[in-house]
């Protein structure tokens, strides 16, 4: 059987050789595929949960230091176990779904949105071997899946039946839709330069030089657009605490709030993975350090930069966000595309 993902196929062949003594051919194939998938899913969930945990702790710590505070200190060394305490607190609270909420949709939307980003994670390679779904159109698949997020985001806010959530969802949709176009233009330039939509070949193409050096305008535009797509400050109009009272999360209670936090951290993981793979050479790096560690190092630096930006900037006004997107980033993205074409393709 042909499986395109090297990571799954390794486990497939391991389980296959072990089970071939006991099972018939069809059952054997099914069992081996399921075993490979389960191993991949466990590895992926360890990565997502581990990243979310460290990100949540580090963000509280870094933002606190930027304010001249201590941040969490009491639970565990440097307050590292604070998030476990918060996790237990959130799970022990009551889950309330308001009467005005759309009954089957509202409780479903947050898990679906989270699942969407887990599926996106399966498309993104973490090393040349560790890929869930290894297709030659990985880049396209990821950005097609990303473009579902405005719809789901809107449904989360709108189905809750709260006016603040609804306003927040509308803002979210406007920002996500208008920033998608410059993002696609930059991604198009990357794909054009590498001559492929496959993440592996984009990374391999960068062994001679990172795309960061080839299109400096591109990475600036992509990073700003990414902050808007992740709805991190200064583009966090979705959960503007002072006007919308946390916006889309007004009616979201205990376990769903946990999912919403996990969702935001997973989005940051997806975003920083995309930047490091598309522009910073992915898992490529000098030999003694393993490729996965190189990639995580780049992701860590990017996420710390995202946190520093959160501590630095103030929330932008809605019209200025849109003006920045349409009047500055869009022409810059087009210029990036043209310059890349002129210098490297023609």
């Amino acid at each position: 059987m042909d499986i395109s993902s090297p990571f799954i196929s390794t486990y497939y062949s391991m389980v296959h050789s072990y089970l071939s003594q006991y099972l018939a051919a069809a059952q054997l194939a099914a069992a081996s595929v399921i075993a490979g998938l389960v191993v991949f899913l466990i590895a992926l969930s360890i990565i997502i949960i581990g990243f979310s945990y460290i990100f949540a702790w580090l963000e509280r710590k870094i933002v606190a230091r930027a304010h001249g505070r201590h941040g969490p200190t009491y639970v565990g060394p440097f307050g590292f176990l604070q998030n476990i305490a918060d996790f237990i607190k959130l799970l022990s609270k009551e889950s309330i779904v308001p009467y005005s909420a759309e009954r089957p949709l509202f409780p479903m939307m947050l898990p679906i949105m989270f699942a969407l980003f887990v599926v996106i994670m399966a498309f993104i390679p973490l090393t040349s071997a560790f890929v869930g779904i290894n297709t030659s159109l990985g880049l396209l698949a990821v950005f097609i899946l990303l473009s579902f997020s405005p719809l789901l985001m809107f449904l989360i806010g709108w189905t809750s039946g709260n006016k603040f959530s609804s306003i927040s969802a509308q803002r979210s949709v406007v920002i996500l839709v208008s920033y998608e176009i410059p993002m696609f233009l930059v991604v198009l330039a990357v794909a054009m330069l590498a001559g492929s939509f496959s993440f592996s070949s984009i990374v391999n193409f960068q062994s001679s030089g990172w795309f960061l050096l080839m299109m400096p305008i591109g990475i600036v535009v992509f990073f700003i657009v990414l902050l808007a797509e992740l709805e991190r400050p200064p583009f966090d109009l979705r959960d503007a605490d002072s006007e919308l009272i946390a916006g889309w999360l007004v009616e979201v209670s205990a376990p769903y709030y946990l999912i919403s936090l996990m969702l935001d951290y997973t989005r940051v993981l997806v975003g920083s993975l995309l930047v490091s793979i598309l522009f910073l050479g992915g898992w490529l790096g000098p030999a003694p350090i393993p490729p996965f560690v190189w990639l995580m190092l780049k992701v860590a630096l990017l996420t710390i930069f995202i946190m520093v930006i959160r501590a630095t900037t103030v929330r932008m006004r809605m019209d200025r966000v849109l003006r920045l997107g349409w009047a500055y980033l869009m022409p810059l993205a087009v210029a990036n595309l043209l310059i890349t074409f002129m210098l490297f393709i023609r």
Binding site: I62, R65, A66, G68, R69, T73, V308, I309, A311, T312
Partner: protein
């Protein structure tokens, strides 16, 4: 747009690597000046029950109450710390210097009534 967009980020990075301004309260204390005036302390053995502190107190913070000692019942100052403005007049006027202001500033209580300190609690 700011003249140098990188400047605020550099300032925040400097702030992140520098020490925090706040202190973790119960373990670490501020270094106080010599003339800091905090919660009162009473030496019940040397108090002569003259009521000078109660008369000089501008806020009527101090009331003289009966206290049973081994030499019989005496009147001694009971202080409502909530009302005290820490002017230090009681300390100044006290003839045997038995009522002094310490450097303690642990005012937190669960109940307002706990701010009224009996002489035994001030000792």
């Amino acid at each position: 747009m700011a003249a140098n967009p990188a400047k605020p980020i550099i300032e925040v990075l400097k702030q992140i690597v520098s020490k925090p301004y706040t202190m973790e309260y119960p373990e670490n204390r501020e270094s106080l000046t010599d003339n800091y005036r905090g919660i009162e302390k009473l030496d019940m053995k040397t108090c002569i029950s003259c009521s000078a502190c109660a008369r000089i107190c501008p806020n009527n913070t101090i009331t003289m109450v009966d206290v049973d000692t081994d030499k019989g019942t005496k009147v001694m100052p009971e202080i409502n710390i909530e009302r005290c403005l820490f002017c230090g007049l009681c300390e100044e006027v006290c003839p045997p210097k038995c009522l002094v202001l310490t450097k303690s500033y642990d005012y937190e209580k669960y109940d307002r009534r706990e701010f009224v300190k009996r002489p035994e609690e001030l000792d």
